[in-house]
């Protein structure tokens, strides 16, 4: 345990002193890594912000069933019974034309209009919350309901929601592609950096092997370098991401105000931070391991 600790602290100190020796160059390498990481992170945050928005709208989504003006009370009753027993309906609410008129009258701006009306032009209505949200189930429900006696129109206001969902799904695919491609870029950047370090330390590696250094002794500092590059890149990427998102939110705030929502893009949270750092460290470790294993043990045996 003690030896293990000594070996690791020894390797870590060596790596830190080497990194400090060419701080400026290493900073640029970390920046390159950060840019590769920041793009998918920003995209992820934008996507999750929008799907959060969609989620909140989805919960409010409902179907409106407007009855014909001449629908009788018995018709209303039979529709009520059908809805109560329909399996695809989660819950529903009846809204009579008198209630609807009263609600309309509550808004003082409409008072004058209502006074000029001879009779109530509003229909009776049912507001339905469907159980399932898939478009096939909803369309089936719509056609079922429109065949009922006394039903004038069935209205679903989810066309725009559907389109947004498709766009988000497309965005999610694009995110994966981008993340994988930039992941490869990260492999290349870290792997090449480590290879350069190996080349400058070729003599030391050779002598060390000749006088009894184990493979892991030689590999250890390079693994630390890879992990440190990954971590530094990830932290820089998160700073970059936060700056970009804050900048976006400035312009989004005024746009959202027009729509009377307080929508804003999410800043990276703890989970995003952990996942970004861990994946960057992992990529750093793996690419360093591959680089060391490939360029090392060909000098002896």
């Amino acid at each position: 345990m003690n030896i293990w600790l000594t070996q690791h602290s020894q390797a870590l100190r060596l790596v830190i002193s080497r990194l400090r020796a060419s701080l400026f160059g290493n900073l640029f390498i970390a920046l390159t890594i950060a840019v590769s990481l920041a793009l998918p992170v920003i995209m992820y945050l934008v996507l999750t912000s929008f799907s959060g928005l969609v989620g909140s709208v989805k919960n409010d989504s409902h179907m409106s069933l407007f009855l014909a003006a001449d629908a009788t009370l018995t018709m209303v009753d039979s529709i009520h019974n059908t809805l109560a027993t329909h399996s695809a309906i989660k819950q529903f609410k009846f809204n009579s034309k008198e209630e609807a008129l009263k609600q309309l009258a509550n808004d003082s701006q409409n008072e004058y209009i209502i006074q000029t009306l001879d009779e109530n032009p509003l229909p009776d209505a049912f507001f339905i919350e469907p159980g399932a949200l898939e478009s096939t189930a909803i369309n089936q429900l719509k056609s079922d309901l429109s065949q009922l006696d006394g039903v004038e129109t069935v209205q679903i206001d989810d066309a725009w929601l559907k389109r947004l969902n498709y766009l988000l799904a497309l965005g999610e695919n694009a995110l994966w592609v981008l993340a994988i491609l930039l992941g490869f870029a990260l492999f290349a950047v870290i792997g090449n950096t480590i290879r350069m370090q190996i080349l400058t330390q070729q003599e030391e590696i050779e002598v060390s092997q000749l006088i009894g250094a184990t493979h892991s002794f030689i590999r250890r500092p390079f693994l630390y370098s890879g992990a440190i590059y990954g971590l530094a890149g990830a932290l820089l990427a998160l700073i970059m991401t936060s700056c970009v998102i804050l900048l976006f939110n400035l312009s989004i705030a005024s746009l959202a105000a027009e729509y009377q929502t307080d929508f804003s893009l999410r800043l990276p949270d703890f989970n995003t931070l952990t996942v970004t750092c861990l994946s960057a460290i992992l990529i750093g470790l793996i690419s360093a391991y591959i680089a060391v294993s490939k360029s090392l043990f060909n000098s002896i045996n």
Partner: protein
């Protein structure tokens, strides 16, 4: 402690560098490996130091068969040896102190304990005042002595030197040989490869190689 039994080493694409060599070296012996260049001296030393494995035959080091050892066990065998390479193999990107520190770092020795040992080794070869100098600023003889300091710092029981006096003039060469004798006198086995006859007062064994063939070992002194 070192036993060669019918050891043959053949490198791919070349003839045998060492053929059917059999000999043994006891603890505390002084051994010269002689022969013209290309006779197989370096190959023999590499086989002793577990840097190469034999093509045929057995090499026993402290009763461990090198050919049968796993690849991952070889580094630990190598640590028993102090090696002085033909071309020094000093690291020119660090000072003398840190050159000597390398074997200790490999053995996991750092800090004050390492510092004491490094200075003791530098003192033994007369380079204590050059601790902070870069190897490139040292003369040929001093570089050779630095290489010896690095070889002995981890207190190996066997010291192996490949042509340690090769490029040195006679005075320097005598210095180096005196140094090796001193190590032998405190119980270290010393194995030296050399292409020219060396005069030394101490009793020593000579392994003479000719085109990879080992002449029968003789004790001189």
């Amino acid at each position: 402690m070192i036993v060669f039994d019918n050891v043959t080493k053949r490198f791919p694409g070349s003839q045998e560098a060492l053929s059917n060599a059999s000999f043994s070296i006891e603890q505390g012996e002084m051994v010269y490996v002689t022969g013209h260049s290309g006779a197989g001296k370096s190959t023999l030393l590499k086989l002793v130091a577990a840097i190469e494995r034999p093509t045929n035959g057995t090499v026993l080091i402290n009763n461990q068969n090198v050919s049968k050892l796993r690849e991952s066990a070889l580094p630990y065998i190598r640590r028993k040896f102090g090696l002085v390479f033909q071309d020094h193999k000093l690291l020119y990107d660090r000072n003398c102190y840190h050159n000597v520190a390398l074997p200790l770092a490999i053995n996991g020795i750092t800090g004050a304990d390492a510092g004491k040992r490094i200075r003791a080794a530098l003192d033994k070869v007369g380079l204590l005042n050059k601790e902070k100098s870069m190897p490139i600023t040292l003369s040929g003889g001093e570089q050779q002595r630095l290489a010896i300091a690095r070889a002995v710092v981890s207190r190996p029981s066997i010291l192996i030197a490949d042509e340690p006096t090769g490029n040195l003039d006679k005075n320097y060469a005598d210095d180096i040989l005196t140094l090796f004798s001193a190590f032998q006198q405190v119980g270290v086995t010393v194995i030296i490869a050399t292409h020219d006859a060396l005069g030394t007062a101490n009793e020593h064994k000579v392994l003479h190689l000719d085109h990879g063939q080992l002449m029968s070992p003789q004790v001189v002194g």
